[in-house]
């Protein structure tokens, strides 16, 4: 019952007027950004970070704002999937399969209402899971020494992207590239300048936020410029969302299963929301078989992936908060925010800053309710935003990114750096090399090296300490298992395609 006490305390933090207001702003902005095609949670959260800094927000408040944006984006992603058949972000891809046919049949409002309830249920179940499991994980993690942490980082990199992206080689190349970029700057242990080539701007290392916005937002704009300027058709009549909400009672079991699957996919490192929605959709489809009308507007085909991807978004917060190891691109950005504010997530965070952790958890519960309430009456408004022309939206995104980055240090050098990372991100995406492992490498590299060196200084340079404890051996075994599972899965998919 300790948890309930903590949670009650968290609600006291989250219910402060400033935090409530930020959660409301975050949810609204998040839903809007998520609804815009091409701009997913990664970009939404990345763009908000410089703003959060400039507001001069305290870490707890900034985190509440960004996590509300994150949850809001996951909610909003479904809107353009259903209305336009263009996923607002990658995890919302599965929602197009049945959502768009429903909208074409004049049941768009129903699909939006149903998916709002499914998203709410998924996110709430995941937040309950976060409340219950994160403290358990913390209890284990508190006993980790540097060697175990090093093993944990290896686990994160062994599994990153393996499942979601096509090629293992490319994911690992991306991770190594990120780790190497992470070593640029003055080495904190020996004060030796590494790979700075005399540029004093690089002495502090590569700024995470500059790299993030370049890799995600700028490369997105570059990609956008070469796409066909898609003619966005005016949305058809949507109808009321209320019947869809009642409809959700019939889909309760679908929503429940989708949420649990999504939650598990979210907790696993490197899997994330796309896998969550994919698995819950395909399992639901297999379960009903010919009985269902999947692919032609089955309501269950909307409920399952939406419950799945929102649950995965909540689940992904568990490893980020309790271990300091993000499992997805968006949680990596949240980690970047915390690191930039000199807060290191991990087991100690739960002990030293319970206000922040539990305030955040409570804010997630409140944010979920807000999102549900916002989405029922305002869904028509959100759908209208999709009609805003891209020649207005994209320059706005570019400029917010630009001024936000400039305002961090008032330095044009950061802007050049951002553009360089934009080109890098663009080329990597063209080569189908995932960019998320690059960011993870950049973010985690410093900690990884630090833990390696601490472990080594304990034994005076004996490498065997890295695999001398039961915990670290289990982590390596777990990593190897996940890696093999991913390889087998990739082989199976390849065989099926061939």
């Amino acid at each position: 019952m300790e948890i309930l006490d903590f949670l009650a305390h968290g609600f006291a933090v989250a219910l402060q007027p400033q935090h409530l207001l930020l959660a409301l702003i975050g949810c609204t902005v998040g839903t809007l950004v998520g609804a815009l095609p091409g701009l997913g949670p990664v970009n939404g959260v990345a763009l908000m970070i410089p703003l959060a800094f400039n507001f001069g927000l305290a870490p707890t408040a900034a985190l509440i704002l960004l996590v509300s944006v994150y949850y809001g984006c996951m909610y909003g992603g479904r809107i353009s999937s259903i209305v336009l058949n263009i996923p607002g972000d990658e995890p919302a891809m599965m929602t197009t399969l049945d959502g768009y046919p429903m909208a074409r049949a004049g049941r768009g409002g129903e699909a939006l209402g149903l998916s709002a309830v499914a998203s709410f249920a998924g996110a709430t179940i995941a937040t309950i899971g976060l409340t219950l499991f994160a403290p358990l994980l913390v209890k284990v993690a508190i006993r980790f020494g540097p060697a175990e942490y090093f093993a944990l980082f290896m686990l994160a990199f062994a599994t990153i992207g393996g499942v979601t992206s096509g090629s293992f080689t490319k994911s690992f190349i991306a991770a190594c590239l990120g780790l190497l970029l992470g070593t640029v700057g003055i080495d904190p242990v020996s004060s030796v300048a590494r790979y700075t080539f005399g540029w004093y701007e690089l002495y502090d290392g590569i700024d995470y936020l500059v790299a993030l916005i370049g890799l995600f937002a700028v490369s997105e704009c570059l990609l956008f410029l070469e796409r066909d300027q898609r003619q966005i058709t005016a949305p058809m009549r949507l109808g009321s969302a209320v019947p869809g909400m009642w409809r959700s009672r019939n889909c309760a079991s679908t929503i429940g299963r989708g949420s649990v699957i999504g939650f598990i996919a979210g907790v696993l490192p490197g899997a994330g929301a796309s896998l969550g929605s994919f698995l819950s959709y395909s399992l639901e489809k297999r379960r009903w078989g010919d009985e269902g009308d999947f692919g032609r507007g089955d309501p269950r085909g909307v409920a399952a992936p939406e419950a799945g991807n929102n649950a995965a978004a909540g689940g992904a917060l568990i490893p980020m908060l309790s271990l300091g190891i993000p499992g997805s691109g968006t949680t990596a950005i949240l980690l970047a925010l915390l690191l930039s504010m000199n807060i290191t997530p991990g087991p100690l965070l739960f002990e030293q800053q319970p206000d922040m952790v539990w305030g955040l958890v409570a804010a997630l519960f409140i944010g979920n309710v807000m999102l549900l309430v916002l989405n029922i009456p305002l869904v028509g408004l959100f759908a209208k935003v999709l009609q805003a022309p891209s020649w207005f939206l994209m320059p706005m995104v570019v400029l917010v990114a630009f001024v936000g980055i400039y305002s961090l240090n008032n330095s044009p050098f950061d802007l050049y750096m951002m553009l360089a990372f934009g080109v890098l991100g663009y080329v990597l995406r063209k080569l189908e090399i995932p960019t998320v492992p690059v960011v993870l490498g950049l973010l985690l590299g410093g900690q990884m090296e630090f833990n390696l060196r601490r472990a080594m200084s304990i034994t005076g340079g004996d490498w065997s300490i890295l695999w001398s404890s039961g915990i670290s051996i289990s982590i390596y075994v777990f990593a190897a298992t996940l890696l093999c599972a991913g390889l087998i899965y990739a082989l199976l998919v390849k065989r099926r395609l061939a």
Partner: protein, 154 residues
């Protein structure tokens, strides 16, 4: 980078990337030997970069040998627009401090809107509106000191 438009050149992109990354790994490995290891440090500043550049090099060589799938590279028109975006943003970054925020941003927004497909009669009013709105947001709502116009009050 390469502007090979065909999908059949996919392997080429991966091979070029593999070669570039392999050279990068080799360079990082070689350069890491110049980092001086301090006293009483079992693991010096060069060890971790070497630990990373080894798998990077090996995997890059593997990528050269077994290239995968690439997306289609942009056609000429798209490439020009992308270069235009980079050039425009680069110039914006250069003139931001000398010219001040408001004039450089107004020009940048209007040109950006043109680049993203607006007509002049759309880009001019909305560009000015967006530029001023951003100025108001950052200068007044967020209280960020933005570079002033030269000759301005300070």
């Amino acid at each position: 980078m390469s502007d090979a438009p065909q999908v059949s050149h996919a392997a080429l992109g991966d091979r070029i990337a593999g070669a570039v990354l392999a050279i990068l790994a080799l360079g990082a490995w070689w350069h890491s030997h110049t980092f001086v290891t301090g006293f009483m440090q079992p693991v010096g500043p060069g060890v971790f970069p070497r630990l990373v550049s080894l798998p990077l090099g090996v995997l890059s060589l593997y990528l050269i040998a077994r290239p995968g799938i690439n997306q289609r590279w942009p056609q000429k028109v798209a490439l020009c627009r992308q270069l235009g975006l980079l050039l425009l943003l680069g110039c914006y970054a250069v003139v931001l401090e000398p010219l001040g925020f408001v004039p450089s941003t107004l020009v940048a927004t209007v040109l950006l809107m043109r680049l993203f497909g607006a007509q002049w009669r759309q880009a001019l009013p909305y560009g000015v509106l967006l530029g001023l709105a951003l100025f108001a947001l950052f200068e007044f709502a967020l209280g960020i000191p933005l570079p002033d116009m030269p000759g301005g009050s300070g």
